[in-house]
């Protein structure tokens, strides 16, 4: 059924599911998952070459299937670290698109709002197309859009927890005030939560662990692909209002 494409920074995407590549047991499984998800954009991390197996592996895989890599700044703790990592990512992948992460600590992996906003401002000024991973604070989301981020990517819950969308009210407030596309990023554990994100009005969903660490990653990728479409259509279709008392769906006898 017809739907508008997702548009970020003037670029159109047919898929509203962005898959992260982290956590997959191996490239073969990752490849099946990426194909089942039918994603057009996928995150990659930037690391020293000798610290990783299969250096070129993931890039070749993405190139082979025409999936756009989105470098991230995962693990950066300060604006300065993130800005350097962003520059390296741009040079390595020849793209100005960036998933910006500035993490406050390893236990929560939550963004540091001050460092994140600082980094976002610098990177936007430097010509990056910045997609920041942020918490679900409507104020920070608005300020990130105000400094020129191409989208805002609030979490549903902390990275890898699978706790789903813990505060739908915040996501609804972010969507209601959004000056930029809203991508629900992090916390999704299962398909119904991805559908729910879209029903709340998000423009897309970004997830990794929910698929790559599932028992059957390709099948979960398929589930997420269907769920994002389902939630998007449900949002557009105009759901029935909630009622306290029942209403019959058959005529009176």
């Amino acid at each position: 059924m017809a739907d508008d494409p997702l548009v970020i920074a003037g670029r159109e995407f047919g898929s509203r599911l962005i898959l992260g590549t982290g956590g997959a047991a191996n490239l073969a499984i990752l490849e099946q998952a990426l194909l089942a998800a039918q994603t057009e954009l996928t995150t990659v991390a930037i690391r020293r070459i000798d610290t990783t197996g299969g250096v070129a592996g993931v890039l070749d895989l993405l190139t082979r299937h025409g999936i756009e890599p989105l470098p991230n700044t995962a693990g950066c703790r300060s604006a300065a670290e993130a800005v350097l990592t962003a520059a390296l990512g741009r040079e390595a992948l020849q793209t100005s698109w960036l998933k910006l992460e500035v993490i406050a600590d390893d236990r929560t992996l939550l963004p540091d709002p001050i460092e994140l906003l600082d980094a976002a401002e610098q990177l936007v000024d430097d010509g990056f197309t910045v997609l920041p991973y942020t918490n679900d604070d409507p104020v920070l989301a608005r300020r990130l859009a105000d400094v020129g981020c191409a989208a805002v990517m609030p979490l549903g819950s902390p990275i890898g927890t699978g706790l789903g969308i813990r505060n739908p009210h915040n996501i609804e407030m972010i969507v209601a005030q959004a000056q930029a596309p809203v991508v629900l990023d992090a916390g999704i554990g299962t398909a119904s939560e991805a559908a729910f994100a879209m029903e709340l009005g998000c423009d897309a969903v970004l997830l990794a662990s929910a698929v790559t660490r599932a028992e059957d990653p390709p099948r979960m990728a398929e589930a997420m692909r269907l769920a994002v479409q389902a939630g998007r259509h449900a949002r557009l279709a105009g759901r029935i209002p909630q009622r306290f008392w029942a209403r019959a769906s058959s005529p009176d006898r």
Binding site: G20, T21, R48, L59, N72, L88, A92
Partner: protein, 66 residues
């Protein structure tokens, strides 16, 4: 001279350039970026960038993540 490459100490002949490090690393033709003393050096400048003793070099690429 001694330089640091991705955290390890390397001995290089004086007059070495950045490109020498990268060729020794067998760096693939694409998907790689280099920072010299915390600043990115575009591929076009690798050959022309001389190294000083104590230089710190980071060579990175894209890996699964995020």
């Amino acid at each position: 001279m001694t330089v640091t490459v991705n955290g390890q100490c390397w001995e290089l002949p004086d007059g070495s350039a950045l490109v020498d490090v990268l060729s020794r690393l067998g760096t693939p033709p694409r998907g790689v970026a280099v920072a010299l003393d915390g600043a990115v050096v575009p591929r076009a400048f690798w050959a022309g960038t001389a190294l000083r003793d104590g230089a710190s070099i980071d060579v990175v690429t894209a890996v699964q993540g995020g």
